[in-house]
C-alpha cells in the first residue's frame, strides 16, 4: 500500500511538472507577453518601451532558464538599473531581493503577482480560504441531498418515486452553473427578493444566509444530479443481491434492510464519484465566483488569466492540478479501504 501511494505521488509530481511546462509555454507566447507588458507600462508606451520593459524584467531570457527560475533550480537575477549600473530588485512591491538567489516553487516562493502588486502567496491564500468556505457549504448541501435522492430512487426501482426523482436528477445534470445561476437569481433575487443576487458582501462582511445561499445552491445543483444518478445505480444493483433477498425472507422490515444491509454497500461507488467531482467543482467555482462576484480562487484565476499575470496563473494551475490529483489519490485509497474485496496491487 505504501509503495502504491509513493508511486502515485511520483506520478503526481511528474504530471505537475509536465503541466506547468505546458502552461509556462502557453503564457510565454509572444502575444501574451505583449499583453503583460502593455498592462504593466503606461498606456501609450511605444514598441521599444514595451520591448525594453520585457528585456529589463528578464522576460527575454531563455525559456528553460525562466522556467528553472520559477521552479527554483536557477538563480533569479535582479534587474540592473541602466543609469547607475547597480542591481535593484525586480518588483519592488513584492520585496524581491536585489541579489541573485534561488527563489522558486521548491524554496516555497510562488513569485510575484504583477496584477495585484503583491506576492502570489499573499493573494492566493486568502482566496483559497474564501473558496474553501464556499466548497464546504456546497459539499454540506450537495452530498446529503444527492445521496438521499439516489437512495430513495434506487430503493424501489421503477416506482413512482424513482421516476420522479430520476427526472429531477436528469434535469439538474442538464443545468450548468451559468444557467441555474441566472434562473435562481431571477426567481429568488429579482422576483421574490428573498436573497442577495451578489456575494460580494460575503468577502467583506462575512458569510450569511442572504449573500451565500444563491452561490451555494447554484453550484450544488449541477453536482446533485450526477451523484444522485450514481447512487441510484449502485443502490439498484445492491437491492438485487442475494443477501438482501435473504434479509427480506428472514422477515426483516424493508426499512431495516435498506438501512442496515443495503446502505453501506451502496455508498461505496458514490464515494468515488464525489471525490472525482472536484475537477468539475473547480470549473463551477470559477463560474459561480464570477457570476456572484465572490473574491475566491476562481475570481483570482480569471483575473490572472485575463491579465496574463504569469506567476499567479502558474500558482493557480499548480493548486488546481494538485487538488484534482490529490482527490483522485484519496478516492483510490478510500475505495480500497471501504471495499475489502478490492486490494491495491
Amino acid at each position: 500500500m505504501l509503495q502504491f501511494i509513493l508511486r502515485r505521488l511520483g506520478i503526481m509530481a511528474l504530471t505537475m511538472l509536465c503541466l506547468t511546462v505546458v502552461v509556462f509555454f502557453l503564457i510565454s507566447l509572444e502575444p501574451n507577453l505583449k499583453k503583460l507588458a502593455i498592462s504593466q507600462t503606461e498606456s501609450r508606451a511605444t514598441q521599444e518601451q514595451l520591448e525594453s520593459w520585457l528585456q529589463r524584467n528578464g522576460y527575454r531570457q531563455n525559456f528553460f532558464v525562466r522556467y528553472g527560475q520559477w521552479l527554483g533550480v536557477v538563480k533569479k537575477q535582479p534587474n540592473i538599473d541602466a543609469s547607475t549600473g547597480k542591481a535593484v530588485s525586480r518588483f519592488v512591491f513584492c520585496d524581491e531581493p536585489d541579489v541573485a538567489t534561488y527563489s522558486g516553487i521548491l524554496q516555497g516562493d510562488f513569485g510575484c503577482s504583477t496584477k495585484f502588486r503583491v506576492p502570489v502567496a499573499q493573494k492566493l491564500l486568502p482566496a483559497l480560504g474564501a473558496t474553501g468556505i464556499l466548497m464546504f457549504w456546497v459539499m454540506v448541501t450537495m452530498v446529503p441531498v444527492a445521496l438521499l435522492i439516489g437512495i430513495l430512487a434506487g430503493m424501489r426501482e421503477g416506482s413512482r418515486t424513482d421516476r420522479t426523482l430520476s427526472a429531477v436528477s436528469i434535469m439538474t445534470t442538464a443545468t450548468p452553473e451559468y444557467v441555474s445561476g441566472v434562473i435562481f437569481s431571477v426567481i429568488f433575487a429579482s422576483w421574490l427578493g428573498w436573497l442577495n443576487g451578489s456575494a460580494a458582501s460575503a468577502t467583506t462582511q462575512g458569510v450569511n444566509f442572504y449573500n451565500f445561499t444563491l452561490p451555494v445552491m447554484t453550484m450544488a445543483v449541477y453536482g446533485i444530479g450526477y451523484i444522485a444518478r450514481m447512487t441510484r445505480a449502485s443502490m439498484v444493483e445492491v437491492m438485487t443481491q442475494q443477501y438482501i433477498r435473504t434479509a427480506r425472507l428472514k422477515g426483516l422490515s424493508f426499512r431495516s434492510v435498506v438501512i442496515k444491509h443495503a446502505l453501506r454497500n451502496a455508498l461505496i461507488a458514490p464515494f468515488t464519484v464525489i471525490m472525482l467531482q472536484f475537477p468539475w467543482l473547480l470549473t463551477g467555482v470559477v463560474i459561480v465566483e464570477t457570476m456572484f462576484r465572490y473574491q475566491g480562487f476562481g475570481y483570482t484565476l480569471v483575473e490572472a488569466a485575463s491579465n496574463n499575470d504569469i506567476d499567479l496563473l502558474l500558482a493557480c494551475s499548480l493548486v488546481s492540478v494538485f487538488v484534482v490529483l490529490f482527490t483522485q489519490l484519496l478516492s483510490d485509497i478510500g475505495y480500497a479501504y471501504l471495499n475489502p474485496r478490492i486490494r491495491v496491487q
Binding site: 502557453l26 507566447l29 502575444p31 442538464a174 444557467v179 441566472v182 470559477v286 463560474i287 488546481s320
Partner: protein
C-alpha cells in the same frame, strides 16, 4: 416612448406559430420513423419508450430550428432597432422601423431576443456534434491500441490523457482560446494534428478490411485521402482550392479547444471497453485466424463497443454544449455580438437587476437541448441493456 404590447396568450401563440417549419419537419420525420420503427434497429426502439420519444422530440426540435433558422427568426440576430432597447416581451415594433413584434422582447443593444435564440442554435448545433465526432475519432484511434496492446504505449497514452483530464477545463480554455493565440502557430499545429486523426482512422479502417481486394481498396483509400485532404486543406490552412470549405479562425480555435478537452474522456472509455472486449472468444478466434491487430481492433472490437459509445456520444454532445456555453459565458473565442446561447447568457446576466427577460430564452434553450440529449442517452442505454 411607449411601445404597443400584445398579450401573453398572443405571444405564446405567435412564437409557437413561428416554429411552423419545425413542427412540420418533426411531424414528418417522427411520424415516418414511428410507422417503420420495427425495421429501424436501435433508433426505432427509441419510439417504444416515453423517455426516448421526449428526448428525440427535443433534439429534433433544436436540429430543425438550426436548419430553418432564417425562416423562423423574424429579424437578423445582430441588427438593432433603436427604439426597442430593453423592450418587454411582446412589444410591437413601430411601423416606421419595419413593423412586426419582438416576441421575447429586446436586449440591451435593442436586438430581438427571439431571433438571437433561434440563430444561436445554429452555432451550437454545428460545433457541438462536429467537435464530439472529432473527439470520438481521436479518442478511438488512440484508445484502441492503448487498450489492445497495453504495456508501454498504454502507459504513455494514459499518462497524457490523465494529464489533460487533471487540468481544469476553464483554465485550459483561458490558455488556448485567448485572442492573441491566433497570431501564434499553436492552434494551427493542434488543428493539423487533430484533423489528421479522422483521415488516419478511415484509411486504417479501409486498409485492414480490403487489403486483399485492391480494386475496392484503392478506390476507398483514394476517396478518403481526396475528401479528407480537401477538408483538411480548407480547415487547417484555410487554403481550399475550390473555396467551399473554410472556417473562421476564431471558430477553428474553439473547435480545437473543445476537441482537445473532450478526447481524453473518449480515450479512457474506449480503452476500458477494449480491455474488456479483447478477452472475448470472437477476438481469440480472429487472432487464431491470423488477422492483424488493427483489423481486430477496428472490425472486431470497435463494432462490439458501439452500444456504450453511442450512449457516451449523446451525453458528450450535451457536455460539449455546456462547454461551448462556458466559453461564451466568459467571452472567450466567439465574437461579442455572436448570438450563441453562452454569450447571450453572459450579456443578460450582468443586467439581471434591471431587466430579466433577455436572460431566460437562452438559458432555457441551452437547458432543454442538453436535457433532450441526456434523455436520449438514458433511453439508448436502457435499450442497449435490454439486448
Amino acid at each position: 416612448m411607449n411601445l404597443e404590447q400584445i398579450g401573453t396568450l398572443q405571444i405564446i401563440v405567435s412564437s409557437v406559430g413561428r416554429f411552423w417549419p419545425v413542427w412540420l419537419a418533426i411531424a414528418m420525420v417522427m411520424g415516418t420513423s414511428f410507422l417503420y420503427r420495427k425495421k429501424l434497429g436501435l433508433y426505432g426502439q427509441l419510439y417504444e419508450t416515453n423517455v426516448g420519444l421526449l428526448g428525440l422530440a427535443i433534439c429534433f426540435f433544436w436540429l430543425f430550428t438550426a436548419v430553418f433558422s432564417s425562416v423562423i427568426a423574424p429579424y437578423d440576430p445582430i441588427s438593432q432597432i433603436a427604439v426597442m432597447k430593453d423592450a418587454l416581451p411582446g412589444s410591437v415594433v413601430p411601423e416606421g422601423s419595419g413593423g412586426g413584434v419582438y416576441l421575447f422582447g429586446g436586449d440591451k443593444l435593442s436586438r430581438d431576443v427571439f431571433s438571437r435564440m433561434v440563430y444561436g442554435s445554429q452555432i451550437v448545433l454545428i460545433i457541438a456534434p462536429a467537435a464530439t465526432l472529432f473527439a470520438l475519432m481521436v479518442g478511438a484511434t488512440l484508445g484502441l491500441p492503448a487498450g489492445y496492446y497495453g504495456g508501454k504505449i498504454d502507459t504513455l497514452l494514459s499518462f497524457l490523457a490523465n494529464m489533460v483530464l487533471a487540468f481544469p477545463v476553464i483554465l485550459l480554455f483561458y490558455l488556448l482560446v485567448t485572442p492573441g493565440i491566433m497570431d501564434t502557430p499553436v492552434p494551427y499545429v493542434m488543428a493539423g494534428v487533430f484533423f489528421l486523426f479522422p483521415i488516419i482512422f478511415f484509411c486504417a479502417l479501409f486498409y485492414t478490411r480490403f487489403k486483399n481486394r485492391p480494386d475496392r481498396l484503392y478506390l476507398l483509400l483514394g476517396l478518403t485521402i481526396l475528401l479528407g485532404g480537401w477538408v483538411y486543406l480548407g480547415l487547417v490552412f484555410n487554403a481550399d482550392p475550390l473555396g467551399i470549405v473554410s472556417i473562421d479562425p476564431n471558430q477553428l480555435n474553439i473547435f480545437i479547444a473543445v476537441v482537445f478537452a473532450s478526447s481524453p474522456g473518449v480515450f479512457r472509455i474506449v480503452r476500458g471497453l477494449v480491455m474488456d472486449i479483447k478477452t472475448r472468444d470472437y477476438v481469440a478466434a480472429a487472432q487464431t485466424r491470423g488477422e492483424t491487430p488493427w483489423y481486430i481492433m477496428l472490425w472486431e472490437v470497435l463494432p462490439n463497443a458501439r452500444g456504450p459509445l453511442i450512449v457516451d456520444t449523446c451525453l458528450r454532445i450535451g457536455y460539449t454544449t455546456i462547454l461551448l456555453g462556458t466559453l461564451g459565458y466568459f467571452g472567450l473565442g466567439l465574437a461579442p455580438e455572436s448570438p450563441d446561447w453562452g454569450t447571450a447568457i453572459k450579456d443578460a446576466s450582468r443586467l439581471l437587476r434591471t431587466t430579466i427577460h433577455p436572460a431566460l430564452p437562452p438559458t432555457i434553450a441551452l437547458m432543454s437541448f442538453v436535457l433532450g440529449l441526456n434523455l436520449l442517452a438514458d433511453a439508448l442505454r436502457e435499450q442497449s441493456l435490454k439486448d
